[in-house]
Amino acid sequence: MMARPSLLRHVIYVLRSNKVTALASAGTLLLVAVALLAAWIAPYDPIASDVSHALQPPNAAHWAGTDQLGRDILSRILLAARLDLAIAVSAVGISFAVGAVIGGFCGYRGGRLDRWVGRIVDVLMAFPLFVLAMALVAALGNRVENIIIATAVINLPFYIRFARAEVNVRRNAGWVEAARACGDGPISVVLRFLLPNVLPAMAVQISLNLGWAILNAAGLSFIGLGVTAPTPEWGIMVAEGARFISTGKWWLVACPGLALMLTVLCFNLLGDGLRDILDPRMRT
């Protein structure tokens, strides 16, 4: 099979022809590496407080300064990357997997199932999403798993709609009928034919959504729902730092805020490139 080298060549081609994608990919890779290696590359213990060095501005020993308890902000940002990425990836993964399957079947089958799911999705979307996430976390309990579940649930309607619409336009395509003539039932038509073909278009959505999910998780922590205090997390760090911003201690907010912004930007820019990589038609 020649698939492997040609895939690699294809990825290289996409990255070379699109500098923004290349940059975003590099940023994302860096982010993932940091998240995985945070425990080893962090210069200090992110939780150990050292009050004698509290509230130091960025300097040679503490590149991003220290917070009110003297904890090294850079170490905390690095460790928080792991948690925030994990939350975002698993939340988006769940909503993508569940949403694509539900939306795929609705789009292919149509009829009563489609109408009912459509109405439920409409109801879900009628809530202010962040408030819904707050309610879910408040009801389920202040834990990381529940942040993931809440983020996944509020994302779900978009994936269902997207998959439904994309499958719907393809369900009468010749290759779908051909698959049926080859003995495929509805389950394998949806899972093995329709959804893989919808994937490139959904990649853009997924990538944009990752950034959004990180913001959402950080937002929940910011208002005190979700990850609790000593754990390093970007949202909490910004929330805690906000108390000091009026006294000119900008780095407490700016550094985690910058990390958050760059991460979201990377994911947003990655989308188009990801679609080009996943679509076999671009591989000529």
Partner: protein, 556 residues
């Protein structure tokens, strides 16, 4: 003699693609006088459309004119600035595109669009432009022009959309009209009406026309001169009669041979191919006593709306026989083929396959039926019918994995290679994805996939409609051989009576879901009973030299 209207000199066009620079035109030269008609024919990818786009300077960003000149009334089009070009396009030369519906703006009415064109090039009031728009619609012989003015493109049929396009192209009385495959995708009868109109209008107004088409018969019928293109070059140019009676270039000769005439047989179309074993089976003679393979009795199907898509259709296809299902779009032939393949449910009547009724099982459960494997279908659009994410190998292997439960391995590979070989698909192409294959190659993948599970009935839904003539010729012969060697029954759905005649013993003519005529192909072809059949037959463009001479003498 005065200078010609359009003179193309040594035109080179190249496209920059991922693989590097591709030469699309390599030195095309031709000239066209005022009021002359030129047909440009050639297979897809030969550079016909690129030529017309280059003349209009409408090439997309990847394409570049690297060398040569295009002189229009002595003015070099390749050197014109944007504003000069805008004045030229639409006013002095205009173009009609392949897909009329896509070329019209869907959210503006017909009147608004024609008025836009008129007012862009000629200084006239809105009222004048409206009056002129109505005159134009009358000129293109659209039915009920007054009420069509307010219509949106979506409310018009394909033929009517093309008439509107023609009206827009004619609006500013251009000296040159380029028609790029103007009737592809239209029914034969509509094609004839549209082409007759186009030819009449251009002759009446003294316009020069370039007709770009893959259909040699069409070019012969409506053009005085024909240029044959291959690989970005014009290989031969001459008056129609001379070109067809004594083609000089090999490629022209092949093209002429591959275009079906009124009396040609399958063997005539592609003389280079090995002929089927003469002794295996006699042409046109049925093996009696084998019993019917497929029998339809009073089959009905309707969709929401007043008309029946399929209304009381009954016919019999014998074992190993070939039956043609002929009709225009909307005649229900595609619906019928989907019913027979059990991709849709009948509303009434019965479909009997090998003596067993198969119409009772709902279509959504039919994938489990034992007959699934025996009834296979080849779809109309070879591109659309292949999963973009499957390689050719996977496409062909899919029914084997599904219907015969074969696992990856030597046995599966052997079956795939066998099917590909029978369909004439080179083994080297099996690893490619559909978008990396040409139309003819994709059609072969579709056929290979359908014959891989060794079916007894093959339903072919216009399998050659999207293909070049020489590819069509090869595919038709291939189908005929499969039928003879494997005893596969063929149900051939087509709008082209001439093609059906060559492949099928019997044919059924459908109109609005009803059978208007049925019988042996040769008899129906020679002596059609129904008016509709006669209209269909009459609409097929031929290039019989005799007919052509006759037409010219009438014109004189």
């Amino acid at each position: 003699m005065t200078a010609p209207l359009l003179q193309v000199e040594d035109l080179h066009v190249s496209f920059s693609t991922r693989q590097g620079v591709v030469q699309a035109l390599r030195g095309v030269s031709f000239s066209l006088g005022a009021g002359q008609t030129l047909g440009i024919v050639g297979e897809s990818g030969s550079g016909k459309s690129v030529t017309s786009l280059a003349v209009m300077r409408l090439l997309d960003r990847a394409g570049r004119i690297t060398q040569g000149r295009v002189l229009f009334r002595g003015q070099d089009v390749t050197r014109l600035g944007r504003s000069d070009l805008r004045e030229l396009r639409g006013a002095a030369m205009s173009m009609i595109f392949q897909n009329p519906r896509a070329a019209l703006n869907p959210i503006r009415t017909v009147e608004q669009q024609i008025v836009d064109v008129l007012r862009a090039h000629r200084s006239m009031s809105v009222r004048q432009a409206r009056a002129e728009a109505l005159d134009l619609l009358r000129a293109v012989l659209i039915h009920d022009p007054e009420s069509r003015l307010a219509a949106y493109p979506a409310e018009l049929s394909g033929g009517m959309c093309q008439r509107v396009m023609i009206a827009m192209a004619m609006a500013c009385k251009p000296a040159l009209l380029i028609a790029d495959e103007p009737t592809t995708g239209l029914d034969v009868t509509t094609q004839k009406a549209v082409m007759d109109l186009l030819a009449g209008l251009t002759a009446e107004r003294g316009m020069a026309m370039i007709l770009i088409t893959h259909d040699l018969g069409l070019a012969a019928r409506y053009c005085a001169d024909i240029a044959v293109m291959q690989n970005g070059e014009i290989v031969e140019r001459g008056p129609v009669a001379a070109l067809f009676q004594s083609p000089r270039h090999d490629y022209t000769r092949m093209l002429v041979a591959a275009s079906p005439r009124r009396d040609s047989t399958l063997a005539d179309l592609a003389p280079g191919l090995p002929r089927p074993q003469a002794g295996a089976r006699n042409d046109g003679v049925r093996v009696p006593g084998a019993g019917p393979l497929l029998e339809l009795t009073h089959v009905r199907k309707s969709f929401p709306g007043p008309v029946h898509a399929v209304d009381d259709v009954s016919f019999v296809l014998p074992q190993g026989g070939a039956l043609g299902l002929v009709g225009e779009s909307g005649s229900g032939k595609t619906t019928l083929s989907r019913l027979i393949c059990r991709l849709a449910d009948v509303d009434g009547g019965e479909i009997i396959f090998q003596g067993q009724s198969i119409s009772d099982m709902p279509a959504r459960d039919f994938h489990r039926a034992p007959q699934r494997k025996l009834i296979q279908i080849v779809f109309q659009d070879p591109h659309d019918s292949l999963n973009p994410r499957f390689s050719a190998f996977d496409c062909i292997a899919h029914p084997l994995r599904r219907l015969e439960g074969m696992r990856d391995g030597a046995a599966l590979e052997a079956r795939v290679r066998e099917a590909a070989g029978r369909a004439g698909l080179p083994e080297g192409l099996l690893e490619r994805f559909p978008h990396q294959l040409s139309g003819g190659q994709k059609a072969r993948v579709g056929i290979a996939r359908a014959i891989a599970p060794r079916p007894k009935l093959l339903v072919l839904d216009e399998p050659t409609a999207a293909l070049d003539v020489q590819v069509q010729a090869v595919i038709l012969q291939l189908l005929d051989r499969l039928r003879r060697e494997d005893d596969i029954g063929l149900l051939f759905v087509s709008h082209d009576l001439n093609v059906v005649r060559m492949l099928c013993d019997d044919l059924v003519v459908l109109k609005q879901g009803r059978i208007v005529e049925a019988g042996a192909s040769a008899a129906v072809f020679a002596n059609p009973q129904a008016d509709y059949t006669r209209a269909l037959l009459d609409a097929i463009p031929h290039f019989e030299p005799a007919c052509h001479a006759e037409r010219e003498s009438v014109a004189l």
